[in-house]
Amino acid sequence: MLNYFIKRILLIFPTLFGISLITFFIIKLAPGDPTAFKMGDQQSGMSSDQNLAKQIVEQTREIYGLDKPVLLNFKIYTYESNWAKAVQSIDAGVEISSKAYDDILEPIKQADEVAVPFLVTQILEADLSEPALQAALEILTVKQKLAISAEMSLLNQKDYVKDWFYGGVSDNGEPLSGVGTDFEFSAVNKLGKIFTQAQYPKWLFRMLTLDFGVSIKDNRPVWEHIRDAVPVSLIFTLTSFIIAYLIAIPIGIYSATNQYTTGDKITTVILFILYSLPNFWMATMAIVFFGGGDFLDWFPVSGLHSVGYETMSWLGQKMDLLHHIILPLIIWTYGSFSALSRYMRGSMLEVIRQDYIRTARAKGLSERVVTYKHALKNSLIPIITMLANLLPLAISGSIIIESIFSIPGMGQMAFNAVLFRDYPIIMAVSTLSAILTLFGILVSDLLYALVDPRITFEGKS
């Protein structure tokens, strides 16, 4: 038994690694990238004085390391052949405004600094066609932020690159050293770059030091975002769990012990009806009818605090919070009764019909003792299984309710991060919830074993 759980705990680490790898890969597979939101948003449209120019996109991507390969950077070894291929395609007439053009230049861009001396020699010495030369100059310009504009003549651009790399004389006559030596890398150096110049290893190394990075959207550390949002979501998830369990389990027991009575039927139907009302619809109705529009003005409709919250007394603050919480909390909770109480009822019914319960009854134990002492304990097993889901849910929040009631919780944060392609936040949230899920499963198995002695974890022998 103990061995089994030690094994399980050790297994968490490779699983976690696998999960993070797959997640990272999937979210990178999704099209779209965070720079899109720097161009405006769908609600207000695009600003015509913010342009989509590629240079802007690339600069933004570079600041956040999004221009690197995802897993491992082998481009630092293959850039020469990549470049040869690119030159071929460019000479074959790939249009500069097409996506294909960017795609063929992508590999050499990903080789990054390692490719710089090579590109410089290509520009200065190789006999490139004009479009290929332009392409090479463009890569250097964007990546190394050279002060080259497309309007300069090619010869001037070449001169600039030469001065920049090998040194020259500045405008006011001072001698300037070139940057050439910065781009000499030893074999070990290069080997290191396979990892340091790729997105996933970078992220993993950071994670190992518990650094989630900064959000692309607002440059704030990710853990600050999480620190702000978790308590908000916890208020709702925990309260809602407690209410749901407090109400659903007794109902489930009642339904099971009073099977097929009118009371059972009525509670069944009511719970199902509650369950089947889409929560976004109910949330809107709640706002319309209880938020003080044309109907009742009972509750505020947005946020968690009134303006002037900070000046209130301690009690006033708590009352204010409660006032804001009630409406979303009801919407949050009403649908969860039925599933819980159904599970409770189902497993209770099953247990009641087991032989040992009959035996207990036959022994002449009172119905109460049979129900609450013997049956209840065993019928709690499925509920325990559900507890495993509870842990990650506690921090996951609810996208729909949080966005309708303008509550800055985890659901909204994660959803916005997904829409924005804010990779550091997405990875942080999914890693956290992965850890909690794995932990939850482990705990539930442990409880399972403790509650039901029939369960063993030894292999089939």
């Binding site: 769908q42 500069i96 947005s302």
Partner: protein
């Protein structure tokens, strides 16, 4: 079992009878919904460029709090790195620029922080004379160093403000001359230079760069990768700047943002609200603050900007008094849900203009849209007026080109294409799109006339229009597929030019430069001309106009450009937007202006305010 089967049959037959009886009296018209919703329509045509929607006969009172609802929260409040329009809107009350719009003639020339400015004859060098009585909110005086520092921060290549910096790429030098003159040089004249060179927010150096990292560098240094690579201070400063706590002063006890404007930052509670209070020690309060807007500074004590994403919650909050002003509500709310006497007694409804227009962009490089006759036909196939009337509640102002209809660049002599499906079909057939293979879809050279209409997931108008087009074009043998995409994918597809048709909104200003969107230099991933519009005459007009100093000559070029657009129809230009909004009648001095966002709180005052005079600090 039998009984229930009979019940089902009865139900079914009943339904059939019910609906078929109904089919006979189907001429249920729903007209006149738009007739009178009890609101004021802000009209800025002619010389009227400021519109007052509240009674003006009362004496201005000081004090009061205004609560406004916005639908989205900015990601941060760093003036340079934030890309959200809401951040700029908020910060424009707190930070100030050297010069700004003159509300009398709408030129970009009203001195604010600069008491005057000079432009050299060749239009390349600008000299701004800074006032000497400016103080920051923390009491420190503003000096010329702050101005120079702000420019350097903006130009730092590691600061995450690439979209903004793109407008300063012609700046070659910026330095202080003596204690009060800021000199900035550009490599060439550009007609919108003043708006950019005088229009960046000045930030306090002692807060953002107390260690003076940026002191020793010049603009030329920042433009030179040899310097920026070697000097780690530049990167260090940028990292600090990007993540500075002033950019995100969140919480009940955060350090406030230090600006110089008439409003002080008060609080930002993430996801809930941002607020600002009047700056009673405003350096400029004894002088005329904004001519024609608020003669003696600002009136309100406090402005709170609440974030409410859900439109229903927003309107409910207005009705329940949680919010005083909704700048943008949904058209259906404006026209159908706010017509009770109660509401109209308590609130003033307004529709006002914003310089943003919607359009349908045809990818000019796709086989079906290469021929301008087809594009003209497509324009004539879109029933724009019905769309505007029924879907848009007549809120749109029809436009024929990309320039603001209330600006000087707009050519009012260019006619609008009519809605004329018959003529359109003729043009399409003239262009060779005929159903050769008899499958019901027109084709040409083996390419069927079947395209994808990309719709951004959040855009209701585009969704409805695409549905209308799908249904209409099906009848004339053109197949439309609708693809709904979320924003980041949508933009990526635009950038990669992987689309057939899009419907979008361009937000502009009073004056705009068509270069980014219309010049063939900017086709595809290199700029915003993602529909691939190519026209030699247009190219040369756009280029020449940029550097034309004489305004009349320049606008003549733009007039000609609009004639070309009319003929080429690269877009189907739809409508300039009017936003519907409402505020409680408690407020007076509510003025509407032609620039974004269409309103300015400086002039608002609370007629129920109890404090007749400003409290002195």
């Amino acid at each position: 079992m039998k009984k229930s089967f009979i019940i089902q049959i009865i139900l079914l037959v009943g339904a059939v009878i019910w609906t078929n009886i109904g089919a006979k009296n189907k001429e249920v018209m729903n007209d006149g919904f738009n007739a009178n919703a009890g609101g004021i329509k802000v009209d800025l045509t002619g010389d009227i460029k400021i519109f007052d929607s509240s009674p003006t006969d009362k004496a201005v009172k000081k004090g009061g709090t205004l609560v406004v609802a916005w639908s989205a929260e900015p990601e941060n409040l760093n003036y340079y790195t934030s890309t959200s329009a809401n951040a700029k809107r908020f910060l424009d009350y707190i930070y100030e620029t050297l010069i700004s719009y003159d509300y009398a003639d709408w030129s970009y020339s009203r001195p604010i922080l600069a008491k005057k400015f000079e432009v050299s004859d060749d239009g390349k060098t600008y000299r701004f004379y800074l006032r000497d009585n400016i103080t920051w909110h923390d009491g420190e005086p503003m000096t010329i160093d702050d101005v120079v520092f702000s420019m350097k921060a903006l130009m730092n290549p590691f600061v995450d403000d690439a979209p903004l910096r793109a407008y300063y790429d012609k700046v070659i030098d910026a330095h202080a001359e003596g204690d009060s003159v800021f000199v900035i040089s550009t490599s060439e004249y550009y007609f919108m230079n003043l708006e950019f060179l005088g229009g960046f927010a000045i930030m306090p150096k002692h807060i953002w760069d107390p260690k003076g990292y940026m002191d020793e560098f010049t603009i030329a240094d920042l433009n030179d990768p040899r310097v920026t690579r070697e000097r780690s201070e530049i990167r260090q400063f940028a990292d600090d700047f990007n993540a500075h706590s002033q950019g995100r002063p969140v919480g009940f006890d955060a350090e406030p943002i230090i600006g110089s404007g008439p409003w002080r930052f008060d609080k930002w509670i993430t996801g809930e609200y941002m607020s600002m209070v009047r700056n009673d020690s405003y350096w400029n309060k004894d002088e005329i603050y904004i001519p024609l807007m608020a003669e003696d500074g600002t009136n309100l004590d406090k402005i709170i900007i609440k974030t409410i994403q859900d439109p229903t919650a927003m309107l409910t909050a207005l009705k329940s008094g949680e919010v005083d002003f909704l700048p943008r509500m949904r058209a259906i709310q404006y026209f159908e849900q706010t017509n009770t006497d109660d509401f109209l007694d308590q609130f003033q409804k307004v529709t006002y203009n914003v310089p943003a227009y919607s359009y349908i962009g045809w990818n000019n490089d796709k086989p079906y849209f290469q021929d301008k006759r087809v594009r003209q036909a497509m324009t004539m196939l879109v029933d724009r007026d019905s769309y505007n009337k029924y879907i848009g509640y007549d809120l749109g102002v029809p436009t024929i080109g990309p320039f603001y209809i209330f600006g000087k660049q707009y050519n009012h002599n260019v006619p609008r294409w009519p809605y004329d499906p018959i003529r359109a079909v003729e043009l399409i057939e003239e262009a060779g799109w005929i159903d050769h293979d008899g499958d019901g879809i027109r084709d040409k050279d083996g390419v069927p006339f079947s395209f994808i209409f990309s719709v951004s997931a959040g855009s209701r108008g585009a969704k409805y229009l695409s549905l209308m087009m799908k249904e209409d074009l099906r009848k004339i043998g053109i197949n439309v597929d609708i693809r709904q995409l979320e924003w980041s994918v949508y933009v990526e597809n635009l950038r990669d030019r992987q689309f057939d048709v899009v419907m979008l909104l361009w937000i502009g200003g009073l004056e705009t430069d068509p270069y980014q969107i219309w010049h063939s230099d900017n086709i595809g991933s290199r700029g915003s001309n993602y529909i691939g519009f190519r026209n030699d005459e247009a190219d040369s007009l756009i280029k020449n106009a940029r550097y034309e100093i004489d305004e009349v000559k320049r606008n003549a070029m733009y007039y000609r450009l609009q004639e070309i657009f009319h003929d080429e129809q690269p877009y189907t230009f739809m409508f300039y937007q009017r936003d519907p909004g409402a505020y409680t009648k408690r407020f007076n001095g509510v003025k509407w202006i032609p620039i974004r966002p269409g309103y300015n709180f400086a002039s608002w005052w609370d007629n129920q305010s109890v404090s007749a005079m400003a409290p002195s600090n």
